[in-house]
């Protein structure tokens, strides 16, 4: 029998950025935090798939506001456009907005996402289940963000910012 695997690098306690290589996956476990520095260095012409797997108990209480990814661990006012389509308990809706960060989910979010880092084209797409608010549990949402800057270098994958204290794990696989 043949199996495929990614070589796992545990970055849970990393204190500086690690350059993930093609075929490697970063694993990060986190507990009761609102910001998660990924500590992953990234380079031009790289591509990742990532899974954010929360461990917070399912609930109808909390916030439904954004789970953010801040590239280079900072915000870029007015440079990122995102669009999403969602269905929660009450509505089916969509939006198209400008943002200083990548919008990857809402509330507590169980997320699969794909990240393209090319200097001339930088995109983050995600499909997520959001829970932790009165209208959410579940919500299905699909999001695409384009960083509308074709010259900036994206050198640190960034920091995830949660709208409320969150626990769980994240896996980041470098495919290219």
């Amino acid at each position: 029998m043949i199996t495929r695997r990614f070589t796992r690098v545990d970055l849970t306690n990393a204190t500086e950025d690690y350059l993930l290589k093609v075929g490697e996956e970063a694993y990060i476990s986190f507990s009761s935090i609102t910001t998660l520095p990924l500590k992953i260095a990234t380079e031009n012409d790289s591509y990742y798939e990532s899974y954010l797997i929360p461990s917070n108990a399912g609930t109808l209480s909390g916030h439904s506001t954004r789970v953010k990814l801040l590239p280079n661990n900072t915000e870029y006012e007015g440079q990122i456009n995102f669009t999403y389509i969602f269905r929660n308990r009450d509505v089916f809706s969509s939006t198209y907005e400008t943002s200083p960060h990548f919008y990857i989910g809402g509330g507590y979010a169980n997320i699969s996402m794909w990240i393209i880092n090319r200097k001339q084209y930088k995109n983050v797409r995600s499909i997520a289940d959001s829970y932790g608010a009165i209208t959410n549990y579940p919500v299905i949402v699909e999001i695409s963000n384009d960083w509308r800057n074709t010259t900036n270098e994206w050198i640190s994958l960034g920091t995830i910012v949660f709208p409320m204290t969150t626990s769980g794990e994240i896996i980041v696989r470098r495919l290219m």
Binding site: I2, T3, R5, T7, Y47, S94, Y96
Partner: protein, 199 residues
């Protein structure tokens, strides 16, 4: 085929560890099909990588058997923007040909103008539009053939980004799908395609 032989044929780019008598664990084995001219039978757990530059079609050159399943990624390298692309669809032509009105696609998308959706008959698998970053899942069973996609669309007005989600069924339950096919773009495009065979 012996798994060691499979690994060698796949031109492994990273290390191979034989765990025991029965299990071979491969670290992201890849085969570069960018310059190949004949179909290569991708084995389960092997990834194919195809780089392409300024072309409007990319023959994948991947042979596919019945009851196989793939994950496909298109990572474009065309510069982001709201112009430069053509208002047209990206298709995957199975067996490198079209089958007139044999496919149905259900899709929805959100651009800067609003939300839209469609359900229509087409002649190949829809995989994107204009310039697209694509994640797709491909099912090849003779009796059920499907491609699902989640894409970002750019290069046209109202885009950069557009989120698009689609599912295409090939409504033919007898024709064998033997060659994964050719990606056809509505304009010249550049980038990288990665295909994982999962089953």
């Amino acid at each position: 085929m012996d798994p060691i032989a499979v690994a060698m044929l796949a031109n492994l780019s990273v290390d191979v560890k034989k765990l025991n008598e029965n299990v071979l664990q491969l670290n992201f084995p890849t085969v570069d099909l960018s310059s190949t001219t004949t179909d290569y039978l991708l084995q389960p757990y092997i990834a194919a990588v195809i780089n392409f530059s300024d072309v409007n079609n990319v023959p994948l050159h991947i042979a596919t058997p019945a009851d196989s399943y793939y994950e496909l990624h298109i990572i474009p390298s065309n510069t982001g923007g709201t112009s430069g692309a053509t208002n047209g669809e990206i298709y995957l032509l199975p067996n490198n040909t079209t089958y007139t009105n044999a496919f149905w696609v259900a899709e929805y998308w959100r651009d800067s103008s609003g939300f839209s959706h469609d359900y229509k008959c087409i002649s190949a698998f829809k995989t994107g539009f204009a310039f697209s970053a694509v994640t797709a899942w491909i099912t090849n069973r003779t009796q059920y053939k499907n491609i699902r996609t989640i894409v970002d669309i750019y290069g046209i007005p109202s885009s950069w980004p557009i989120i698009g989600v689609a599912s295409t069924d090939w409504r033919d339950t007898t024709t064998p799908w033997t060659s994964l096919g050719t990606i056809v773009f509505p304009q010249n495009s550049s980038g990288t395609i990665i295909v994982f065979r999962l089953r």
